[in-house]
């Protein structure tokens, strides 16, 4: 499986086997995407997972960085070691031992299963009513992926790049909303995905100053 190496890395980092601090995420992800490109067609599933894993690694790394900085602040603030380290230097923290209670889970009954089915149907109906009131439906991840798969992704990426090049001749920055023809979820996603690929291939810069704010596209 081609997607295994990154997954293994993430799991190793999670388990504390490797130090996320010392992984070169860009390097790992680049190598990985390069291998994907060598295949005839990009598999969106696999590349999406790569992005996901890379973001998890990045998050682990940034957490460590942020917290490293923090610790420094704290020592400075107190000017000395916290009290708890002074009175008794505990060497091995023992695994605490909880009370022994019965931890047994019973199987679910068929009646309970069917009750949940009724609730699932009720929930769905409520959701559909809400959707109708809002006048549009919120797509699931599966819907989104189905939209994409109907298209030849590579052709779309090329088309978007062509369009951007034309605009970059006149101006340095493009606002994402200008690229979207109609503000439907499908159109937004179709315009956005090629940009992600272009950004990863280092053709453009993507910048978003605030969450849910507009995205700016710059040439690089």
């Amino acid at each position: 499986m081609i997607d295994e190496p990154v997954e293994i890395l993430v799991n190793l980092a999670k388990d504390g086997e490797i130090d996320p601090w010392n992984i070169d995420i860009v390097d790992v992800t680049d190598k990985f995407l390069k291998r994907l490109e060598e295949r005839e067609q990009l598999d969106l599933w696999v590349s999406a997972r790569t992005l996901l894993y890379a973001s998890i690694l990045l998050r682990m790394k940034s957490e460590v960085l942020v917290e490293e900085g923090d610790k420094g602040d704290e020592w400075d603030f107190f000017g000395f070691q916290p009290e708890c380290f002074q009175d008794f230097q505990i060497e091995t923290y023992p695994p605490l031992r909880p009370k022994i209670r019965r931890r047994s889970k019973r199987p679910v009954t068929l009646t309970e299963l069917i009750d949940e089915l009724k609730k699932a149907i009720d929930l769905r109906e409520k959701r559909e009513i809400r959707r109708m009131r809002r006048g549009r439906s919120r797509p699931t991840a599966e819907d989104t992926l189905r939209v994409i798969e109907q298209e030849d992704l590579e052709n779309r990426i090329r088309a978007v790049m062509k369009k951007l090049k034309r605009i970059f001749k006149r101006q340095k920055k493009v606002v994402f909303s200008e690229l979207v023809e109609e503000r439907t979820p499908a159109d937004i996603v179709q315009a956005y995905i090629p940009l992600l690929f272009l950004a990863i291939r280092k053709k453009i810069w993507l910048e978003q100053k605030e969450l849910f704010g507009d995205i700016y596209i710059k040439s690089r």
């Binding site: 209670r101 019965r102 047994s104 679910v108 068929l110 069917i114 089915l117 699931t140 991840a141 599966e142």
Partner: protein
């Protein structure tokens, strides 16, 4: 601390049947001795005023709620699956064979992780289907819920019947 009470504590803590050999290791005595002790413990439980019982079932021993009390306290016993997972399973059982895409459109994006959990427990299985997966229930599902058939149509009919309260499952 006597051996009989250690056995009692062990059966309580395990929450599932244990055999004489496992229990013998625990008290460091031969299995025959353990079996004898368990016999007298079973008798003691019968004479106690209690809703709990010790039962020997196929060479193994288990502590459980007496059948007469089981129904009464069922709602309090923790279920194997959380409600949202169970709800997703219900949707799959009713609509099967059904694509993961369809299940997600009914249950929302959280259904992805439910499908993983249910597949691990072997209650459902999947085969690749275009870009999604086609989901069906398994013989384990049929056995788990004590259903007599694995014909999807009959299962759906039976679910409808139970839902309408015509039969109790």
């Amino acid at each position: 601390m006597n051996d009989k009470e250690v056995l009692e504590a062990a059966l309580f803590a395990a929450g599932e049947p244990l055999d004489a050999k496992e229990l013998a290791t625990l008290v460091g005595k031969p299995p025959e001795y353990v079996s004898e002790l368990l016999k007298s413990l079973i008798e003691e439980y019968k004479t106690r005023e209690t809703s709990l019982e010790l039962v020997e079932t196929g060479e193994r021993y288990v502590m459980q709620v007496k059948p007469a009390y089981a129904e009464k306290v069922r709602s309090i016993a923790p279920r194997e699956f959380e409600t949202p997972v169970l709800r997703t399973l219900a949707v799959i059982a009713y609509h099967q064979p059904v694509t993961q895409a369809e299940v997600v459109s009914i249950r929302g994006n959280k259904a992805y992780s439910h499908v993983v959990a249910l597949e691990e427990r072997e209650l459902i299985k999947s085969v690749p289907h275009r870009r999604t997966k086609m989901l069906t229930i398994t013989p384990t599902f049929v056995e788990y819920f004590g259903i007599e058939t694995n014909d999807p149509k009959l299962i759906r009919k039976m679910i409808e019947k139970v839902a309408k309260g015509q039969i109790s499952a």
